[in-house]
Amino acid sequence: MKNLKEKVFKFVVKFLTLISLLLLAFIFVFIFKESFVFFKEVSIFKFVSGRTWNPLGSPDNLSILPIILGTIYVSLIGILIALPIGVGSAILLSSYTNEKVKRVARSVIDILAGIPSVVYGFIGLLVLVKFFEVKFSFSSGESVLAGGVLLSVMMLPFIISTCDESMEKVYKEYHQYSSALGVSKSYMIRKIILPESRKSILASIVLALGRGMGETMAVMMVIGNAPTMPKLLKKCQTIPSLIALEMGMAEVGSLHYHALFASGFVLMLILLGINTVLYFIKKSMDN
């Protein structure tokens, strides 16, 4: 009897695990299936390099180059702002604070990570965009810059916690030996901890980029949603916002509908590309 119970249990566990793993396959298959319908009409090359997105026009006018660029541009700005601030804070957190402060600080960072993206978008719209409009008299505060700044705030907790964890390990390992030489903490951090942390800083960039490019609501609310070539202070569009906005109005089965799936597919390809590139960079760093 006991044997049977164990066998059943093991089977159930294996089965459920299989389903979980198949989910990923399902996701890829379904997204690809719906995108493929579009790619039969419009070549993927045209889709990715053309500059006009006009769902009401002829199929040749469904291309997303400006939107791809917008997605990348906004995330890039986000990383550029968030990286120095995130790494700097991680250094202070990992090497200059005691256990009690660390616990509090890490909870605070978790809170930042837990704020829903729609709330970020909300604040971004009311504070950032308005700020740009009032202080710098932009005609419209909605811009790549607004999206980038907002994303940088959202990326901070990921960068900080990834770097903090690994920096603390390195600190604990070498601190004793370095201070026995009479050398200052900041020297040790600059000479030992930072170089040793290159891998985790890189990992945090990948993580942050991935989040940034997949971010929908927050970005959608502050970039203006104009599918034109992105300029720092002008409106732009990103793939996730495009999908979120237009999916509701696209007729099921229409070319527009499949084009939106196609852009989701392209987004996944881009993310896959970034992860692969960084995997190889990591490998080369190990040598």
């Binding site: 006991k2 119970k5 164990e6 249990f9 093991k10 159930v12 566990v13 459920l16 695990t17 389903i19 979980s20 989910l23 990923l24 399902f26 996701i27 379904f30 997204i31 120095p84 601030i85 790494v87 700097g88 804070s89 250094i91 202070l92 957190l93 960072i109 978790d110 809170i111 930042l112 837990g114 704020i115 829903p116 993206s117 729609v118 709330v119 978008g121 909300f122 604040i123 719209l125 009311l126 901070l156 200052s184 020297y187 951090i189 600059r190 997949g214 971010e215 929908t216 609501m217 609310m221 996730p240 999908i243 979120a244 999916m247 509701g248 939106l260 799936f261 989701g264 987004l267 996944m268």
Partner: protein
């Protein structure tokens, strides 16, 4: 550049970075609390949206209930799959290659943008399986989103169980399944619950997966799994995007944040209590 100068610049850099981070956190929380406070009232929390356009007056009760229901379904769906996968990987999987493969898949799933999951939920659940825009479709889609989150944490918890405990159990000749049910799960109970709760909080705040799969602008409290549902984040978006009511929007944001903070606090308390038993 002398060592002294380098040291100085370095310290300024890390000091300013940290200040910026904390200023931002304080500002965000302060902003929401200050502005949302005025809109909070019993009527707001327990009333229904009213007015023209709808939502400009009244309350957000259906959205609160909707969000909680969505969270429940997502957590149920995700934890069954995630805990099973974690159990398999830690206790049953003998091949390192398969283990690595599973980790890779889970990581990939974690990297899928939530809007793509929304697309998937839409095409598979809403259309293909005919579930329509419903509580179930949206709940499952959210569940897929939080699955990797729970799996990774539960696996970590299992990994932290003392090797000796497992070895002693094996030495008694007890089957793996028995050990998992009677020993491991009770031991890890609080950590697992806290991970599921936190994941639930994550699900509750997400809008992209539910826009296409079940969230609507206005709906009563869902009577069944197949009814559409209102949700707090989506409601916030509508109130803001359609310019319906800034005041109510602040209130909605505040309610959402408070619920999330409560979830986080409960999870934290569970975490601390759990550590006492180890």
């Amino acid at each position: 550049m002398s060592e002294k100068t380098r040291d100085y610049i370095f310290k300024i850099w890390i000091g300013i970075s940290t200040l910026v981070v904390f200023a931002v956190v304080l500002y965000i929380l302060g902003y929401i609390f200050k502005n949302g406070f005025k809109s909070i009232s019993m009527e707001f929390i327990f009333g229904y949206p009213k007015g023209i356009p709808i939502g400009s007056e009244g309350g957000i009760f259906p959205a609160i209930v909707g969000s909680l229901l969505l969270m429940a379904i997502a957590c149920l769906f995700a934890s069954i799959l995630a805990i099973s996968t974690a159990v398999y990987t830690v206790f049953y999987c003998k091949s390192k290659r398969i283990e690595g493969f599973i980790h890779l898949i889970v990581q990939c799933m974690a990297g899928i943008p939530s809007i793509v999951l929304g697309l998937f939920g839409y095409t598979l659940l809403v259309l293909y399986l005919g579930l329509g825009r419903s509580l179930l479709s949206a709940g499952i889609t959210l569940g897929i989103m939080i699955f990797p989150y729970i799996e990774v944490r539960v696996e970590k918890t299992f990994g932290e169980v003392d090797k000796f405990v497992i070895d002693s159990s094996e030495a008694l000749g007890v089957s793996t399944g028995y050990m998992i049910f009677k020993l491991i799960l009770p031991l890890c109970k609080t950590d697992i619950i806290s991970a599921v709760l936190l994941a639930g909080g994550f699900a509750m705040g997400a809008s992209a997966p539910i826009i296409l799969t079940g969230a609507v602008i206005f709906a009563p409290i869902p009577k069944s799994l197949s009814s559409p549902v209102m949700a707090l984040p989506f409601h916030l978006y509508i109130l803001t995007g359609e310019g319906i009511s800034l005041e109510k929007a602040y209130g909605t944001a505040l309610v959402l944040i408070i619920i999330l903070l409560l979830i986080n606090i409960i999870a934290l308390v569970l975490n601390i209590k759990g550590k006492e038993y180890r």
